[in-house]
Amino acid sequence: MKKKYAMVVDSSVCIDCKACMVSCKVQHSLPRGHWRNWIKEMRPDFSLGKYTYGHFQPGNCMHCENPTCVHACPSGATYKDEETGIVQINEDFCIGCGNCIVACPYFARYRHPVRRVPDKCDYCQDRLAMGLQPACVDTCPTKARVFGDLNDPESEAAFLLRTRDTVKITTSPEDTKPNMYYLASTEPMDWPGEVKYPAAHSTMTGLVNPLFKIAVGLSGLAVAAMLIRQIFSGSESSEQEEKKEEA
C-alpha cells in the first residue's frame, strides 16, 4: 500500500535545544550556514507581565500535498514520490535553475553552495530504508517530533491525528496543503512567505508554452492542409504545373 509520511509535532514540549538541527546537519553533512530543519521562536509579549510565555516550534520541509516547488520545476527533477509522499530531488536530472527554492513559501530549500542543486529534508530516506526514524525525530529528547505513515492506522502519527486537535501552518494565495501537523496550537504562525513563482517560470507556463502549442499547431495544420490537397488534387496541380512550364 502507498505510504503517506507525515510529521506530527507537539511544539509545547520543545525546549529549543536544537538537537534536531544538529543531528540533521551531521547526518547529511550539510554545508556551513545551511540547515534542512529549524526551530522557530515566538517573540514573547512582555506586556502580559507575569503571564508572559515563550513558545518554540520545530519544523522542516512539510512534504506538501500541493507542492508548489514541484509545480515550479521545469523538468520534473523535483517531484513528490507517489509511493511515499516524500518530496525529493533527482540531483542528476536537476539543472540548478533555482525555481523551486523561490516557490517554497516555507524556505525549506536552499541551493547547495558546492553541488549547486537545491537541498532539502527527505525524511532521512536512507535511515527509513534501514528501519530507523529520521535523525531529528530519533534525537529529540522531549519527543516533540512524531513521524509516521498516515495511511497506517496503527502508526503513532495516525493515532495522534485521529485523537487530538491539530493545526497546520497555511500559506496564501495558494494553499500548499502541508503534511506537518502541530498538536493543539503553535506559535509563530505568520512566518511563511507568499506563494510566488519566479518570473522565468510564469513566463514559461503562461506565455511560452501556449505560444509553442499555437506555433507548432498552426504549422502542423498547414502541413496537413497541403498534404490533403496533394492527395486529392495532386494530379490536377501537376497538370497546372506543366501548363505553366509550357507557357
Binding site: 523538468s75 549547486r116 511560452v208 502542423g220 498547414a222
Partner: protein, 235 residues
Amino acid sequence: MQERMIPRHDKGGIFIHWFNAVCWITLTLTGLGLINEHWNPLGGWYPNLMRSLFGSPEMLLTVHMYLGLFWASVMIIYVLVRFRESLAFLKEIFSIRPARDMIWMVKKNIQMTMGEKMLKKLGMTPDIPPQGFYNAGQKLFAQVTVIAALVLIVTGVTMFLSTMVLNNPTPVAWSRTIHYLFAGLALAGLLVHIYMAAISREERPAFKSMLTGTVPESYARHHHELWYQQVKDRI
C-alpha cells in the same frame, strides 16, 4: 531527353545540412522529453516514454546536453572553416525585398494550403513573384533557424554550466524558458520544411539536390527564376 542540370549545393553544404538535420531532430525529440510532464505540450506520456527509453531522466538529459554541445561545436567549426561561404549564405538569407517577399508569402501560402481557386476567389492573380536562390519562405525559415541556433547555443551552454560554476541561478531559469521558446519556433518552421522536402511532389527536385547537389534547369527556371537568370550563362 536528358535535362541540363545546374549545380546548387556543394559537398560541404550537403554534409552540414544532413548533419544539422539529424542533430536538430534528435535534439528536438530528446528536448521535448525534458519538459515537465504536468504541462508538456504533447502530454505526460511523451516525457515518460522518452525517459524510460533512455533508461532514466538523467540519461536523457546527458544525451541531450552532450549531443547539443557536439552539434554546436561542429557548426561553429564549419562556419570558421568555411567563413566566406557562410557569410555569403547569411547575406543571401538576410537580404529581404519586402514588397516581393510579402506578396510571395501571402499568395504562396494560400495557394499551397487552399489552392489556386481560393487565390482567385480572394481576388488575387495567380502569378507568384519570381524568387532568388532562396524563395521568401526558405529565407524566413533560414533566418529563424540561424537566430534560434545562436540563442539555443548560448542558453544551452548556460544551463550546461549551471551546476558546475554558476552561483546565480536566475540566468539559468531564464535560459530554460528562452531555450524552449526558440526550439518551438524552429520546430514550427521545421515541420513545413520537412513536408516540403520529404512529401511535397512539387519540391522533389529540391530534395534530390540535397543529395546530388544539382537541380534540373526547368526547376531552377520555374522556382528560382532570379537565381537562374544569374547562373544560366555561367554553366
